[in-house]
Symmetry: C2
Subunit: 189 residues, 2 copies
Amino acid sequence: MKFSADDILDAAARVVLTRSGSPPVAEIAREVGAPVGSVYYRFASRDELLVSLWLRSVRDFQQGFMAACRLEPAADAVVAAARHIPVYCREHPAEARAMTLYRQAELVRAAPESLRDEVATVNDQVNALSLELTRRRYGVADEWRTTLLTTATRQCPYGLVRPHLGGPIPDWIDDATAACARAIAALGD
Amino acid sequence: MKFSADDILDAAARVVLTRSGSPPVAEIAREVGAPVGSVYYRFASRDELLVSLWLRSVRDFQQGFMAACRLEPAADAVVAAARHIPVYCREHPAEARAMTLYRQAELVRAAPESLRDEVATVNDQVNALSLELTRRRYGVADEWRTTLLTTATRQCPYGLVRPHLGGPIPDWIDDATAACARAIAALGD
DNA sequence: GACAATTTAGAACATGGATTCTAAAACTGT
DNA sequence: ACAGTTTTAGAATCCATGTTCTAAATTGTC
């Protein structure tokens, strides 16, 4: 087996880092050193390849994020989870870029049949942890506070990092992220 | 003149609102009720059309943003400028979506020759105001504090709004944006 | 070593969509 | 009304890229 699925995904990740938008199959093939036919031997379609890359990247990211969510006390967990986003993106630029290829909400409808289920459930564990974190932080986990913490730990940090993806992520972003996370979380007190 | 440039841009804006990514020329033509040839009579290329739309949307957005930047005292201006972003995106969903079509940094290189200059200078006025606002807010406008205020008034608000573009923008986003703006701005004190 | 299954190769094909082209229609000024 | 200019029309062309196909090479098995 000259070209494993992971070899191809690794190459795809490298390519994604160097261009904006989704790369053509031919470019991924060139990067891994295979003809396009070989790529199609592993993946049924370009979509399946890129969505697989997205899934793999998201899962890799979630590991550290979930670890941060479990910290005590809850207030620290919120800040740590938020900080994890710029930190992860700095250390894993290719995965970070790959995660921007799709948004989960769209993929649930648009992903190839074979990956639809994985896409639909990929956030389940994280969402469960978010709910638990909300309960720990506020005592209750009503919808409003859950949304608030999701914003503080995910949306806002991601929004701050996003413009830097593709280049180096300045260190001060981490502090700005932490400050925002605290400020947003405080709205629920 | 059956189809003015602005008619076509208006149609393009409407189309952009209904799909993710840049629309095909044929779809814009259909929306304005013209054959594709007529679209190409007004715009040299699809890129020129879409970059024009981007420019028009950015300029429309900047009006209110700059007004907010001029408020006194400076601390209020920071919060008002930040808030302007979710407010504008809520009231002008099509323009908001159009602004996401490109990032200025990329366009400076990639835009059609004829629009390159406009793209390069489109932020000049806003940047000048940001610098002045920084001076008012902190007494000095060193690079660090200028970056901080740009993050507080633009990057962070935009990051918070972004996931909601295409749908309704919840009202609480405005408060989260304001809280973040204050928190980030405070890092420079 | 021979046979089967897997994997690689890359040329051929298909398609969506941008762009061009030419003719017709609609204006404009005289 | 006429000549000239602008604008509309939409079919034809072109191109990038995704996908398929068939043959060759490799690997695994008895």
